[in-house]
């Protein structure tokens, strides 16, 4: 649907037309229900206004009514592509608030699954982004590897998408040796697969023409706008929460933060391709180093006791009963902001606790929301066709943006 306005120029015989174009909310390339209103001069975008909120569910309001344990499934549904990373982000924040120390083995498992999620999310991004720009084969290749990882997640926790795998104080279920071996076998094969994707598009002339020098954002602007994740790293800022404020065991494994130089779509693509390799390497190191031990912290006031203890021990049964029916009765009074690096960028949880078992206020700082706010800056002055490439390159999920 488009509206035309006729305007007389200086020369009364020449007319110019300014076009307002509505894109979305039901558009296959907007990755969800994002609506953009574009004002066009010919094919150049004069103004771009994003409209969000079509997927608003009031998660922040809802969480104020729930206890800390009940919120975990809600975090799955923020960025549903990388629900594992959201679970971890929330649990890390709550553990910092409660002052719980998570056992080493659980930390390693969390790091492994977080990086598996990063690979999953980037695979989906690469497939759909390439599909948007016109390279269809990559999509099929990416989903081949995605399926293998999804099956591994399913074996681990029974779900493919909304996993709810972590618990406050640890993880739900221990990993078995066979699972680790299968994942290790995957990581041996995966670098070769990354090269395959690269041979498909890295030197593809159409791909280069569509991505190089398009949607450029400088480092200063990216910082000022609060961008994070691969988008800010594509502009050459090595900001990664995993390095700047390490959580889990990211300070115990060797890895690097890949950065770009030009801040265009191509550099963001390169950053994510390098992150595949880094994540792969982190998973391998974690599997090699993972120690034995408990997977849940010992803090009976906040953490669910193991099931066999519940069935044999009176005290544990009471703890279990209280935690399940009422949730943690008390929490320390205070407030905390904890950021974690999810595949899309910095996911922050700001929790205000008033001492009861429910958060007084739980604010979610979603990376996609901030990235969409930078979309006008990326699109304005460019062409209509590049809007699609720009949306793809910032890697958004509307479930997280609208909450």
């Amino acid at each position: 649907m488009a509206m035309e306005k006729t305007r007389l120029g200086d020369n009364s015989r020449v007319t110019t037309r300014e076009l307002t174009l509505n894109m979305g909310p039901q558009h296959p390339a907007t990755h969800g229900v994002l609506r953009l209103v574009l004002e066009l001069d010919g094919e150049t975008i004069v103004k771009c206004t994003p409209y969000v909120g079509y997927l608003h569910r009031g998660v922040e309001k809802h969480t104020e009514q729930l206890n800390y344990l009940q919120i975990i499934p809600h975090t799955d549904r923020l960025d549903y592509i990388s629900s594992m990373a959201n679970n971890i982000g929330y649990c890390v924040a709550v553990e910092r608030l409660f002052g719980i120390k998570v056992p080493e083995r659980a930390q390693y498992i969390r790091t492994i699954v977080a990086e598996v999620t990063r690979i999953l999310s980037h695979l989906l991004w690469l497939g759909t982004h390439a599909l948007d720009i016109g390279a269809m084969t990559v999509f099929l290749y990416c989903f081949r590897e995605r399926e293998k990882l999804q099956q591994l997640l399913e074996r681990l926790c029974g779900a493919r998408l909304t996993v709810s795998y972590t618990r406050i104080g640890g993880v739900k279920k221990d990993v078995d040796q066979q699972w680790l071996e299968d994942l290790y076998a995957f990581t041996e094969e995966f670098p070769m697969r990354i090269e395959q994707y690269e041979t498909l598009i890295d030197k593809n002339r159409i791909w280069l023409k569509r991505t190089k020098g398009i949607g450029v954002i400088t480092a200063e602007e990216a910082i000022n706008m609060g961008l994070s994740g691969p988008v800010i790293r594509g502009s050459g800022v090595p900001y990664d929460v995993r390095k700047f404020m390490p959580y889990c065991v990211y300070d115990k494994v060797k890895w690097e933060v890949p950065t770009g130089k030009n801040g265009d779509i191509y550099d963001r693509y390169r950053v994510r391709m390098e992150e595949f390799r880094q994540s792969n390497s982190i998973i391998r190191q974690c599997i090699e180093q993972i120690p034995d031990g408990p997977i849940m912290a010992d803090a009976p006031k906040f953490v669910l006791p193991p099931k066999d203890a519940v069935l044999t021990n009176m005290e544990q049964l009471i703890h279990h009963f209280v935690l399940i029916t009422k949730g943690p009765m008390t929490a320390p009074e205070g407030e905390i902001y904890v950021a974690t690096e999810v595949p899309k960028g910095e996911l922050g949880f700001y929790i205000v606790s008033d001492g009861t078992g429910r958060p007084y206020r739980l604010r979610i700082r979603p990376p996609s929301f901030v990235h969409i706010s930078a979309l006008p800056r990326l699109c304005e002055g460019g062409l209509v066709a590049d809007v699609i490439a720009n949306i793809g390159s910032i890697d958004i999920v509307m479930g997280e943006c609208d909450r």
């Binding site: 307002t20 969000v52 706008m225 407030e335 950021a339 604010r363």
Partner: protein, 177 residues
Amino acid sequence: MEPLEIAERLKERFPEEVLDVIEFRGQVSVVVRRERIKEICRYLHDEPGINMNYLSDLCGVDYLGRRGFRFEVVYNLYSLIHRHRIRIKALVPEDDPSIDSVTEIWKGANWHERETYDMFGIVFKGHPDLRRILLPEDWEGFPLRKDYPVTGPEGWEWKGFEEVKRLHEHDREWNIT
């Protein structure tokens, strides 16, 4: 720099404005008056050695029933240069829920402030484009306020579809044709 040191320097620079410094789990919150929030933010952003160049988050909190100041606007600031963090909390009263916008300092504040307006009804003075963001533009009430019921306002009924009067420029043009 340690977050407490930043709080000390802020206190020296704005002795009238800083009301309280709270430390919890290694994170420091500085409670300030709202009147000179823009100057405070400008100082934190520009001052060498502090350089809070990254606005991690901006949000509102409603303390219903608290005497004097019902709302707080919370700024979670981070420095990518020095890798330190501080939280500024500006007190906002119920009878005049407004505060100066910091979009001139951090462009990223734009949508966060719109969301805070949308959810709490706090008006950001000097914001370039303050309108609802997540909710429809004809929505009544501010859902994240504590006195807003979780199940929605009582006796609320859907009035059927109505052509919505849009405030924004292109939408106004849109409706003309």
